[in-house]
Symmetry: C2
Subunit: 478 residues, 2 copies
């Protein structure tokens, strides 16, 4: 992102005016379009708001922009010559499509992190840089020739990676399958996108856990699905609820995350697993099992997935490297019946023509390498260490204002706030105090819950981050 | 793909029966689901159909599968135990979603290429392996450290790649822009997918070229768009047609590929470029300009894009590495007004959480490297050489049965067949003769046209491939 040069003799406001004029003349802000607000620009460029006000005044005097009180600052319609030509009404197009924008809280968090990368990040659901196997992957990349083929890939994904996953799934997830049942995707997000777009129709009812990651995904709404809740308690969901939902709403699919559920960290107990499978088989209902966290099990003995008990072929299984290795590889996978894999592979070709072969080659090598197991061992220890740092900090800063169950795996701690506070105000106050988290309502909960991700923040930032959060919370309740 | 072991003492049919039983028991083919036909399995496994018939008989005698005449072979409902449990009706799910499957001709071509990789491929719109800069990219990958960051990427794409593209666009495409107006995508396909999903609504009318690549993309139909035709002649589209379409159908967007159009290879002439921009500005209509081929201009002086003349901010510009470097990198880009880039970046996060950073790093390094220009020079020469081989072969084999204009850039030769033949029969006959092409009707044309891609086939295969095609054509007209 461009920033003004503080060493230059040219005043900051002039530099900013020139920069904006350039972006306007290049078409980034066409005639009639709204410029970012003075506040937002000041944040982005790291200057005082008064400097932006001066820059805007400069552009206004040149006839390049116009401000009207209450409606912000726009690029002048007449900027590009005497004859007013019609620029498309881009705003209408940006708002016109059927695919929905992200939930406002998540956009606000992303914006805050973009503007201030020093915020302590308890929001992003991924590993910190030091937990990713960067050196291991770098050494694999130096040692192998990854460019023997750079054409369009097999629609199901790179075959040697699917072969490596076939072995991985038997060894680590107790899932028997063959490469022809595996679809490589750009992470769990794309797996879920393909399922909601291609296997369900607008108006279809589906059951999702409450709270659940799925609520944070506008893709469920964009696909026109009706969402029904399966409440999660300490032992996961109550399978009997499914029968009721089926009777009332004819639900067509069940989405579940049985191991270290996002956001609650709970594990579905064995009795409920059997019951869930029994009811799904009885009703002929497919289950989508999202399983990103199992290998982070701090005890080092990952619980098997539901899929390993699936004798009726009812489960589409989703896995990924994002939470156990590196989200930036963008490698996930799905195990599903043949007809489903073929359908989704075909649709994905239409959407993006498949994945780059290079990260698939890297991921396949990493899976087969001697680095994989030591990486997992180290990851588990580090996550456990960070979990404990987080709990310690919370117990120190907010002993009586917060409640939680202690997760035995995964990236997240799900907390209930004892005092009643407004989600939006708490987030804004926290940002001011140098920390972001995800308000529980994003996952479909009532307000008064918070998801802290301890995988992403640096260990040394966890204490100060929670101190900032505690300050924000105490500010609001006093 | 698994193949039976011809060295084994175990008969082929028994190996196949065991293999199928395994895949069935793993859930790839759940109870009640249809198995591939005997013909298809025989092709896939490289055995006689009678071997598959024996394997099926074996499985039938074990009660694992059931055949009914006319409805194919299915996995037995009772396979998994005495109590019949209900497996989801996966077939209904596979057919249920709103996103449409690929056009049948393209699925048939892909299937044929999967089953017989020795077919001469005049169908796939990409470079042959020897035209991709594999050694150059391998040397860049050995020399750089690509793993300094492996987390989720900036939603608009990796910033250093956007900075490299900013320079590239000025130098090679005469487009002034800034990194903040650039969105990195997984190739032009994803750019078009995002535009059709997020900026248009079901029922919207759009203008596309006739013939055009867009007709081959079910994403246009999946988005519920109404497509109207702009006929392409030797000099591209006739812009005046746009006014008529706007009056009659209130079209909301124009899709065009002005340089070396896919499939016709034509270049929009200067007079029409001016007129097109004038009419779009007059009507306030956005243009989506797809520009994958310009840098292949055989004369070495790439024609500028429409976007370089866009003074009203009417154009969304789409570029890609797929046709000039390597489709397997899956790197494309879009230049658009700020509101559009932000909207599409946000939506893409929902669909796949962004691209892998590794190929973006590689692409950025390649663009800035000393390899880029020599690669382009070599590419142009090689494409010209292959174009001439194709023309020579056609003139030798089918001097009086085929007509075409000679393209000055791009990957494709668009041919009119003089005799009337059925598209589907010609394709099947050609597959039998060892060659695939794309029937013109895939691009919205009447039958009697063929697109030959000369970029993909090896130089030495072009002559024999056309001989196979000529044999197929002559067979059908006699």
């Amino acid at each position: 992102m461009w920033k003004p040069d503080r060493q230059s003799k040219k005043p900051l406001y002039e530099q900013i005016a020139d920069h904006l004029e350039q972006r306007i003349s290049y078409g980034e802000f066409p005639p009639g379009s709204l410029l970012p607000s003075e506040r937002k620009l000041a944040e982005q460029l790291g200057v005082n708001r008064s400097t932006v006000i001066l820059a805007f005044a400069e552009l206004r005097s040149l006839g390049i922009i116009e401000s009207r009180s209450g409606s912000g600052t726009r690029v002048s319609q007449y900027k590009w010559g005497a004859t007013p030509k019609h620029t498309p009404n881009w705003k209408r197009y940006a708002e016109g499509g059927s695919f929905l924008p992200n939930v406002p809280f998540l956009r606000r968090i992303r914006e805050a992190l973009n503007q201030n990368p020093t915020l302590v990040d308890f929001a992003s659901g991924e590993l910190s840089a030091d937990l990713a196997p960067m050196d291991e992957i770098a050494s694999l990349m130096r040692g192998h020739h990854y460019t023997s083929y750079l054409g369009y890939d097999n629609p199901q994904g790179y075959t040697p990676l699917r072969q490596a996953l076939e072995k991985y799934l038997v060894k680590y997830r107790d899932i028997q399958t063959t490469e022809s049942s595996i679809l490589i995707t750009s992470g769990s997000q794309q797996s879920l996108f393909l399922i909601t777009q291609c296997l369900l129709s607008p108006g279809d009812a589906v059951a999702i856990e409450d709270p659940s990651y799925c609520y944070s995904l506008p893709m469920f709404q964009s696909a026109g699905l009706r969402l029904f809740r399966l409440p999660v308690d300490r032992d996961g969901v109550q399978p009997e609820e499914i029968r009721n939902l089926y009777k009332k709403h004819r639900i067509k699919m069940i989405f579940t995350n049985p191991n270290f559920q996002n956001p609650t960290g709970t594990v579905l107990n064995d009795e409920r697993r059997n019951k869930l499978l029994e009811i799904a088989a009885e009703l002929g209902l497919p289950i989508v099992e999202d399983d990103p966290y199992s290998l982070t099990d701090y005890a080092g003995v990952p619980r098997p997935p539901l899929k390993s008990m699936d004798t009726t072929g009812s489960i589409i299984y989703i896995g990924s490297f994002s939470k156990i290795a590196a989200s930036g590889l963008r490698i996930g996978w799905m195990v599903a019946p043949n007809s489903i894999v073929e359908r989704l592979a075909d649709a994905r070709q239409q959407m993006d023509f498949g994945l780059s072969v290079i990260p698939q080659q890297v991921a396949g090598q990493f899976l087969k390498s001697e680095h994989f197991e030591p990486h997992l061992d180290r990851l588990r220890m580090q996550l456990l260490y960070k979990r404990d740092l987080l709990i310690e900090a919370l117990q120190k800063e907010l002993p009586d204002l917060i409640q939680f169950n202690i997760p035995q795996g995964g990236h997240h701690l799900w907390c209930k706030l004892v005092p009643a506070v407004n989600d939006a105000k708490l987030l804004e106050e926290s940002i001011k105090n140098g920390v972001v988290f995800v308000p529980g309502s994003v996952y479909g909960s009532d307000s008064g819950f918070v998801r802290f991700t301890f995988a992403r923040a640096k260990a040394e930032d966890i204490g100060p981050g929670i101190a900032g959060f505690a300050k924000a919370l105490r500010e609001l309740i006093h």
